[in-house]
Amino acid sequence: MNVDAFAALLMGLAGAGHCLMMCGGLAGALGQHATWRQLLLYNCGRITSYAAAGALLGAAFTTLANASIDGLIYLRLLAALLLVLLGLYYGGWWLGLRHLEAIGKPFWRLLQPLALRSRNGRGYSSVILAGMVWGWLPCGLVYSALSWAALSGSASSGAWYMMLFGLGTLPAMMAFGWLSKTLQSFLRSQGFRQLMGLLLIAYGLWTAVIALRQLLAS
């Protein structure tokens, strides 16, 4: 696994607190009626959407990578910046990343009717569909991960990164009901989120340093 893929996984894992806050309770509410299999399918649907988005962006930016090596490095700098912003967001130090979510809003409007339609179904297919719709909710965390998918250089690796990211979020989302209460309170605590924020900032800075070094070397 290369460093970029690792960054995607890390983002997912570090986001546990965020995911619990935003969607964790919802997975729990759903879980009251759902079997664990439905829950798994639901999350699979969500991750599928992530992967699809990753593939889309990966493919879109491949041309950029082919056009110039430098272009990819600038993209990496952007990704590093997003990672730092995400870190600041986690730690609660600067919440600017919220504005990013506005990008996804019109897109979400298009999908919303779909969500409505999927609501009544109890079959596996409708559960997967609901999960897939869920995957397109505006979320700063997802967008930061997508920036890594964008610079992956191909559609397939973009999908791979986003899948790893999705897997990283899985423990928090899927195991909401199973995690011990103590662990949950730890994951949701401000201290944990700050530490994770620091970790992401560190990772982002590190990526930026490497990118700058490459930029100067080339």
């Binding site: 806050m21 509410a29 919220r98 996804g104 609501r119 909710l137 505006p138 309170s185 530490l195």
Partner: protein, 810 residues
């Protein structure tokens, strides 16, 4: 689906419960009402929830602080049982005046001072809570609360919400807990020690092997062996560090275990990666050694703390749980001490430990209060005297009337005091701790900076240099420096019969320049007796023997109520009858004996007969005279305490200015002062004068005041350090910073010296830790040390600090 949505918390996002942005955020319409949310994400999620008919999620979710987590129902029920009043009596103490109830809870799962902080902060806002002190060393929480506002079960639940299990403290189970805790460390230490030895041997082999061109497959085998051996160390032995790190992160006060855990985990992961891919470097020996030495330090600290704590708690354990009660028809029956009521009559066999506080219901008894005061001599008790639980009945069978049992006994209050002293952090400790905390944050930042810089310069080195920075600069020594010294000093003082109520005095002691000493009851023992007498050999016809004079004095004094008369009522075996006795208030007594008029009393009283009389004894204060001559001069006074003169001299040698304050006349104070070598004496002082004198001196420098806790209350309160004597039974009433339990003035000296010594050791520790940490930082950042040496340096520096503190236990 109509659902009543809960009121959104003010200022927080309705969905994710995070603070709203400054511009007020966005809004979402749920059930025809607008709710504020923080971002588009929350807006979209909330809408979706509504559309999918899942609004009951908002209804049932936990909207409180994310630190709060609901408990499972069985646990809730178990806590409710503790609300039973009868049960609570066994482990709580009520303050009759304020209605405040106090109890000690033992808390499982506490790992560090961050836990203490977390619990304190979390409990304080509950209604009716008046005090929460958490003692991280004994894992105990002392809580004072008003039972009518908050139930005990609610408090227990609140602690449980943080992930700790709190139960009423029972000293019987403490020993067991201590043992468990020790075993917890010993097994981990054992695993780490064994593995470290093996891995070190391999590391040495590898090191020398590299020089002499080691076979590649053999090297690979040794790497795998190291990985195998280091794994249990990382997963099992190092657990305490991870737990403590997690807790401290949760409390937002990252402690030294955060960099420790980071370093351990990343070193292990990187070394494992190197082993699997068969390239790079391995540092398994650093993982093992670091864990081993850190554990060793924690274990030693644990032992020291447990020693300090159990010394106090063991006292209570010695109390019998069963007592013999005399019931209505004079039959003896065995009952649990917990079931005894006030005014029950209890019988204690000779040689047995007295189970309750009570009033002696027989003419006399001899008991030893060694348990409380360390004074092993038997103490005479008379009918109506208080006898304390924990004292040992020395002679015959003893009857007493119960006044207090269990948690309300004086013994329990002594233990509570010692506990309190251990749990209250002196400012120095707090400073050192907050310094260590700042350091942790800086270490993390510096590690990041190092990593980034080295990535720029030499990416392949960056990782190991960063690990070295994390390990070498971990402020473990700094965090250990002060608390270990304070615990040691308090333990040491307790052993010497000095109870320190406020550990702050340890750090204030060095500034003290002047010691104010009260005379009566402090320098002297407060018991009046005949100190000396002088017989005038007059020329008159009726020459009296000394015995006759003493017998006359005794006979006359029996009519007087004056305090000085009391010690003069038992002077002679000879009984003489005096007649026509008249008491003249504030002068003395007059009477007739064998047709002779006699006067006994003050100088003024006899001078009415003998205007020119000059006493032979300068300090005489009682005179016996006939109408023709003065017959006898008596000096009644209180005796100097044992060792008072030596102690005063020793204090003066240490550079302290000893000042005597007394309400007595100068003539009485001066000889005592001279005897003790005290030059500055303020006699005839009212309490207000004492206060003014002390306050005036305080303008120049901090002062210590030693007085009798009962009468000198305000003066003691004004002093920077106050010390009082107390019989064990008065302990609860005295408010001094330190209490000398053995009733020896000389205990002042070890108190002074131990306090100075503890501060010296604390200073040494902190200074050493700072010097080490600041010096090692640039060296580590320059990449001059390997993780291996970093671990050695850090471990050595914290063990050094620990051993230095342990000196105080001796």
């Amino acid at each position: 689906m109509a659902v009543t949505l809960p009121e959104p918390p003010a200022g927080l996002c309705f969905h994710c419960l995070q603070p709203l942005p400054n511009h007020g955020g966005y809004s979402v319409q749920l059930q025809q009402r607008d709710y504020a949310v923080c971002c588009y994400g929350c807006q979209a999620v909330a809408q979706t929830i509504a559309e999918q008919g899942l609004l009951h999620f908002y209804q049932f979710r936990d909207t409180r602080n994310p630190l709060n987590v609901p408990l499972v129902p069985e646990e809730l029920q178990r806590f409710d049982a503790y609300d039973d009043e009868r049960l609570q009596q066994q482990f709580t103490r009520d303050d009759a005046n304020t209605g405040v109830r106090e109890t000690a809870l033992s808390v499982e799962g506490m790992t560090c001072s961050a836990c203490a902080w977390l619990i304190e902060k979390h409990l304080a806002p509950l209604p009716g809570i008046s005090k929460v002190t958490v003692n991280a060393s004994s894992e105990r929480v002392t809580i004072a609360w008003q039972p009518q506002h908050t139930k005990l079960s609610a408090i227990l639940k609140h602690i449980a919400e943080l992930g700790y299990r709190a139960l009423p403290f029972q000293s019987a189970s403490q020993e067991h807990d201590f043992k468990k805790r020790r075993r917890y460390f010993v097994t981990r230490l054992g695993v780490a020690g064994l593995a470290t030895m093996q891995v070190m041997m391999i590391a040495v082999g590898l090191y020398f092997g590299m020089v002499s061109d080691l076979d590649d497959s053999l090297r690979q085998f040794l790497w795998w062996m190291s990985l195998l051996l280091a794994t249990p160390v990382l997963l099992f032995s190092a657990q305490p560090f991870y737990l403590s790190a997690l807790r401290s992160i949760q409390a937002q006060r990252p402690n030294m275990d955060v960099p420790v855990s980071l370093a351990l985990l990343s070193t292990y992961i990187a070394s494992t990666y190197a082993t699997i891919t068969d390239q790079g470097e391995i540092y398994f020996e650093s993982v093992c050694m670091f864990t081993f030495f850190l554990l060793l330090g924690r274990y030693l600290e644990l032992l020291a703390r447990q020693r300090a704590v159990s010394a106090a708690a063991n006292l209570i354990k010695l109390l019998p749980a069963v007592a013999q009660r005399k019931n209505g028809d004079d039959q003896l029956e065995y009952v649990a001490v917990a079931d005894l009521q006030a005014d029950d009559l209890v019988v204690v066999a000779a040689g047995a430990t007295i189970p309750v506080d009570g009033i002696l219901a027989q003419p006399s008894a001899a008991v030893s209060e060694a348990l409380m005061t360390g004074e092993s001599r038997a103490i005479e008790k008379r009918v109506g005297d208080t006898v304390l639980a924990g004292s040992v009945n020395q002679q015959q069978i003893l009857h007493l009337q119960v006044t207090a049992t269990q948690q309300n006994t004086v013994l329990a209050s002594i233990v509570a005091l010692q506990d309190l002293a251990l749990s209250r952090k002196p400012k120095w400790v707090e400073n050192a701790e907050s310094l260590a905390q700042t350091f942790v944050k800086q270490v993390l930042v510096m590690a990041l900076v190092t990593f980034l810089i080295w990535t720029w310069i030499a990416p392949s080195e960056a990782f190991w240099v960063t690990i070295a920075v994390l390990v070498a600069t971990c402020p473990c020594a700094l965090a250990l420096a002060a608390p270990t010294a304070v615990t040691g000093a308090i333990h040491n003082l307790n052993k010497q019969g000095v109870i320190v109520r406020n550990a702050d005095v340890l750090t204030r002691m060095s500034a003290i320049k002047t010691v104010f000493v009260d005379k009566t009851g402090t320098l002297t023992d407060g018991q009046f007796s005949l100190l000396q007498h002088y017989q005038h050999s007059s020329n008159s016809a009726s020459e009296h023997t000394l015995d006759t004079l003493l017998a006359l004095t005794q006979a006359l004094e029996r009519y007087s109520q004056h305090p000085l008369a009391l010690p003069l009522q038992h002077l002679s075996q000879t009984q003489l009858d005096v007649e026509a006795v008249q008491v003249q208030p504030s002068y003395g007594v007059a009477g007739q004996w064998q047709q002779q008029s006699l006067r006994l009393g003050s100088l003024a009283w006899v001078r009415q007969w003998h205007p020119d009389f000059k006493p032979q004894l300068a300090s005489a204060n009682v005179f016996l005279a006939s109408s023709t001559a003065v017959l006898l001069e008596l000096q009644v006074g209180d005796q100097l305490r044992d060792g008072a003169a030596d102690t005063v001299a020793a204090l003066q040698r240490l550079g302290l200015n000893v000042v005597m304050l007394t309400g007595d006349r100068a003539e009485l104070a001066a000889p005592i002062a001279a005897q003790l070598g005290i030059t500055e004496v303020h006699a005839h002082c009212l309490p207000a004068d004492k206060l003014a004198l002390l306050a005036q001196r305080q303008q120049q420098h901090p002062v210590m005041m030693i007085g009798d806790g009962m009468n000198d209350g305000p003066v003691l309160a004004q002093a920077d350090i106050s010390v009082s004597f107390a019989q064990a039974s008065d302990l609860a009433r005295s408010a001094a910073d330190a209490v000398l339990l053995r009733n020896q003035f000389s205990a002042l000296l070890p108190f002074y010296q131990t306090a100075l010594r503890s501060q010296r050791i604390m200073r040494q520790n902190v200074r050493w830790a700072l010097v080490y940490n600041i010096a090692i930082l640039p060296i580590a950042m320059l990449g001059l040390i390997t993780p291996y040496f970093a671990a050695l340096g850090m471990s050595a520096s914290s063990l050094l600090v620990l051993l230095n503190s342990l000196r105080l236990y001796r």
